[in-house]
């Protein structure tokens, strides 16, 4: 009996040090929110920001190491570190963008930032999960925090509605995920990812055993809801439109990245023996996801809703790299998620800055003439939209290039062709926003824009990220490739 195997303050704690920093800041922010009164509560945001910066520190000791901690519950390896850095960057940008946005909307209190920090910690746990239990609990911590965050504008019917839909569909998805895990356990007798892989490798007959396959399907459905893949996407537009813009940015990038991290972990660490089965399934899902996302986005008149459908389509592109399933394909997935985080948070930051209290100004018509009223914001938005459309020299182009070339190298020519065709279709609705910004007369009497220094900084960082990954992608791709060598 290996009782009390956990060592105190040693290597076990290094594996979750970044989560611990975020969690202690979450509690600190919560307490501070009680002490501070009235308008000064917004200072809790700066404390949360500091927490995200501080959470980078444990990286110094953790880079280059690889081991499992807490009796095989979490794993510290380059893959988990990659995603932890991504989640920290996302969290940092989201908090930066929230600083003025929340004061404007009257939701700047300690609970907001505490929940953002908690959700980030949950995402990190998912990325570092070595065990299905950790994966499930990380997912739930993240989801529960985000259900509450989506409904944080309590007087706004759309926000509460978004929280409600996200909650029902999220809980439904958790049910599928849990049942998938249970059936995997019932057939293999293991919950630890490496042990599952070992059992499946040992008993080859299990790989065509119906119970395992049903479990695989249920896992896929559960993750499909979280990633908004196409048959399971119907909640996305309403939730993204209704939730506060800062939280929408968080959901579109952070939650998606964490869910992809979990999917990569489960499918490549635990279930590589079933690759033949899930590849075909995911092929169909990828094509359906990008096509439907793009086609419906064409007709949207609301920019936030358009970005929601665009995020569905992007999940489809990312899935292309996943289907390729080679090392380059997996690295391309990681690269894409990072690039997507920068360009999407940037776009949502512009959307947030153009709104006002009580008037979110997210209709396409509200963007008419923005190019002259707010030239700098419009230029930034144009860059982000070009990047989302995949125009060089931006991060979006390189990300799409890697994903599709991985598909070609793996022999999935049709998938790559369909992906490129889809990107061409997608260019239309991104360009449409730009046409409105630069070639339409502004609507009379419409007040747009809300000055925000922090928001501007967030946009600048995102711009830097978009160009950095777009112009000098090779170093970063090498990093991504090193990260996926754990599989």
């Amino acid at each position: 009996m290996e009782l009390f195997k956990v060592d105190v303050l040693g290597r076990d704690f290094l594996a979750v040090a970044q989560e611990l920093v975020l969690l202690s800041f979450a509690l600190g922010v919560l307490l501070l929110g009680v002490i501070l009164k009235g308008d000064r509560r917004r200072y809790t945001g700066y404390v949360a920001l500091f927490g995200y910066v501080l959470a980078f520190l444990p990286l110094l000791g953790a880079i280059g190491r690889g081991y499992e901690a807490f009796s095989g519950m979490v794993v510290l390896d380059p893959f988990s570190l990659f995603f932890k850095v991504l989640i920290l960057v996302v969290g940092f940008l989201v908090v930066l963008l929230s600083l003025d946005y929340t004061s404007r909307e009257g939701i700047a209190f300690g609970e907001y930032y505490a929940l953002v920090l908690l959700a980030s910690a949950g995402m990190m746990l998912m990325a570092g999960a070595a065990h299905l239990v950790t994966l499930f609990l990380g997912l739930e911590i993240m989801s529960i925090a985000i259900y509450a965050l989506a409904g944080i504008m309590r007087e706004d019917a759309r926000s509460v509605e978004a929280a409600f839909k996200y909650f029902l569909l999220g809980a439904f998805a958790s049910g599928f995920l849990l049942y998938g895990m249970a059936l995997t356990y019932a057939s293999t007798g293991a919950l630890h990812l490496r042990e599952i892989e070992g059992v499946l490798a040992q008993k080859a007959w299990l790989t065509s055993f119906p119970l395992v396959l049903v479990g695989l399907g249920l896992l896929l459905v559960g993750f499909g809801f979280k990633l908004a893949l196409v048959p399971f996407h119907m909640w996305t537009p309403d939730v993204y439109e209704g939730a506060p813009t800062s939280i929408t940015a968080f959901m579109a990038t952070g939650v998606k990245a964490a869910a992809f991290a979990g999917l990569l972990r489960v499918f490549f660490t635990a279930l590589p023996a079933l690759e033949g089965h899930w590849r075909e399934l995911l092929w169909v899902l990828a094509v359906a996801t990008m096509t439907l996302g793009n086609l419906v986005a064409l007709r949207q008149e609301d920019v936030k809703r358009m970005l929601a459908y665009s995020s569905i389509a992007h999940a489809g592109y990312i899935m292309v790299g996943f289907v390729a399933a080679t090392e380059l394909g997996r690295a391309a997935v990681l690269f894409y998620l990072f690039a997507y985080a920068f360009m999407n948070i940037g776009a949502f930051a512009v959307v947030a800055l153009l709104g006002r209290r009580g008037a979110p100004n997210t209709l396409l018509e509200d963007y008419a003439g923005v190019g002259f009223k707010h030239p700098l914001l419009a230029v930034a938005m144009a860059v982000f939209l070009f990047s989302l459309a995949g125009v060089p020299p931006t991060a979006g182009f390189m990300a799409k290039f890697y994903v599709f070339s991985a598909a070609v190298k793996a022999g999935y020519y049709w998938l790559a062709v369909l992906g490129v065709l889809n990107s061409a279709v997608a260019a239309y609705y991104y360009l449409r926003v730009m046409v409105y910004m630069y070639f339409r007369e502004p609507k009379e009497g419409l007040q747009t824009g809300y000055p925000s220094f922090a928001g501007a900084v967030a946009i600048l960082i995102a711009l830097w990220g978009v160009f950095q990954l777009g112009i000098m992608p090779s170093d970063f791709l090498a990093l991504a490739q090193r990260s996926v060598q754990v599989f």
Partner: protein, 100 residues
């Protein structure tokens, strides 16, 4: 001896009834009840498997999943309360959820 297949089949039945309830019903509270039903149906599979595989993992997982279900219920109820204040009634079809 009761065959383990019986437990697993029963669990599958309860789970599917829950899924059907979520898909067919339109009352938010009933949908949430069906989700709770799904979660507790999974428990039967986990415990039966754990018992016939001689492993404790499943039992602990159920223990944790129950807590998760309760935590979700707490947040869910809070959202229902808010929604009720705004719409004076928790209806799903009026707010256009799940257009299958």
């Amino acid at each position: 001896m009761i065959p383990p297949a019986l437990y697993l089949a029963l669990s599958a039945v309860i789970f599917t009834i829950g899924v059907i309830g979520v898909l067919l019903r339109r009352d938010a509270i009933v949908i949430f009840m069906c989700i709770e039903m799904m979660l507790s149906a999974v428990g039967i599979t986990l415990i039966a498997a754990s018992r016939y595989l001689h492993s404790m993992d499943g039992v602990i997982f159920v223990f944790l999943a129950m807590t998760v279900a309760a935590a979700e219920a707490a947040v869910g109820l809070a959202i229902f309360v808010l929604l009720h204040r705004i719409y004076k009634g928790v209806k799903v079809d009026e707010i256009n959820l799940m257009k299958w």
